[in-house]
Amino acid sequence: MSANSASISASSAGPKKSLKTFGDDIWKNKTAKINAELFTLTYGSIVSQLCTDFERDFKKVNSQLYAMGYNIGVRLIEDFLARTALPRCDSLAQTSEVISKCAFKIFLNVTPQVGNWSNNKDAFSLFLDENPLSDFVELPMDAAKELWYSNILCGVLRGALEMVQMDCDVWFVNDVLRGGQSTEMRVKLNRIMKDEIPAGED
């Protein structure tokens, strides 16, 4: 159990460049792939059905997409960790890099930009230039006012982050589908969930 600080910090997730290479490499070599268009069509069918089910009450559709994403996220995180063997992140900044360069890359083959950090560094935005969920999708007028088409992504991130002890709020701020300039998701860290102490140890 030697405690060589220098070698330890060098071996933890290194500079940004290596995370990108790492993510790219896993995408290229350790990922079974399907056509993105199939994914888009399937997701579109699901959203469409929800709009019918909830009689175009888009707030409910948003909510349901979020819940669906959460259930996927709590499973997806294990798949992600098993494939990448990444340890817990040291900071929210590192987390944002891992989300952008590894998670989005490996699963969706896109690399959203990280930006718009809050003053106390507890929140950031992900800017999606490309979004396989919504390729070629056009929203009708009523949906364009209230529907966050890709809200499933917020649920996925929330669920995944919760499993690594980060209690975060995740929500859409802007979406090109709604006429916005960009597609922007916001991630705000509420608290790090302290590892539970076993009963009897405190």
Binding site: A67, I106, N109
Partner: protein, 252 residues
């Protein structure tokens, strides 16, 4: 003389094949795992929607609406875990189960329609939609559609040439890892049912987009079957074999 003509025909076909393959490989891709998870989570989703619609009817005060409006509702949006919702499915009554089934089949139907449009316009040299009879359409489902969606083709197609088809997938991937404890195999069978509604709807959707769209013309049911002896999985694989039984009313 005749030989070289045939040879150049074959070469042309090969060239188109190669071109098509390269085209397919150049298309944007996503990870297969998230696709599988999206398909699978559609089932708990359908159950959760059913629960939500039922509650809403029962809730006279409209309290549910108010809840959803506030941002604090982000937490309540989490809902129930996937496996819990599946247990709820077992407890649901016949009407609810039927509505859940319809919901999932609709998703599959839409997917099937859109997917066949996509594949029709993909310049696949193996497909010719001009003279597609029912059998050709079914072969299209077995080969091209199944390959796109599940990464493999249907293993066996049986037909009585009078509108009844059995599409046999001896290793239906999406449900392969689904098991319960040893002594709950009855429950397992029942719980697998809803996971087969989307592919059934998809088959009907493809058929509808290729001319078989009359109301009630196509029905599709899926059942678990035992794989034939030759395909018996080696010790330690847990494949699930599914038979998709498609009935098409022809004529008139």
């Amino acid at each position: 003389m005749g030989d070289s003509g045939l040879a150049s025909e074959v070469n042309e076909h090969q060239r188109l094949q190669l071109q098509f393959q390269l085209f397919q490989e150049s298309l944007p891709k996503v990870d297969e795992t998230i696709y599988r998870m999206l398909l699978n989570e559609a089932v708990p989703l359908a159950i959760s929607v059913e629960k939500s619609l039922t509650h809403h009817k029962e809730d006279a005060t409209g309290q549910l609406e108010a809840e959803l409006d506030s941002k604090l509702a982000l937490e309540s949006q989490q809902g129930d875990a996937s496996h819990k919702l599946l247990k709820d499915y077992l407890a649901a009554d016949q009407d609810q189960q039927t509505r859940i089934k319809t919901r999932l089949e609709n998703i599959g139907f839409q997917l099937g329609q859109k997917l066949s449009q996509l594949l029709i316009f993909s310049n696949n040299p193996n497909l010719s939609f001009k003279d597609m009879d029912l059998l050709s359409v079914m072969k299209f489902v077995c080969r091209d559609v199944w390959k796109q969606v599940f990464g493999k083709q249907i293993d066996n197609l049986k037909t009585n040439h009078r509108g009844t088809f059995y599409l046999l997938d001896y290793n239906y991937k999406p449900i392969e890892p689904f098991t319960l404890e040893e002594d709950l195999s009855d429950q397992e069978q029942k719980l697998i049912e809803p996971f087969l509604h989307v592919p059934c709807g998809m088959i009907r959707g493809v058929l509808a987009s290729l001319g078989f769209e009359k109301e009630g013309q196509v029905t599709c049911q899926a059942t678990l079957v035992d794989p034939p002896d030759s395909k018996q999985a080696g010790a330690g694989t847990f494949t699930k074999s599914v038979s998709f039984n498609v009935q098409v009313l022809v004529g008139r």
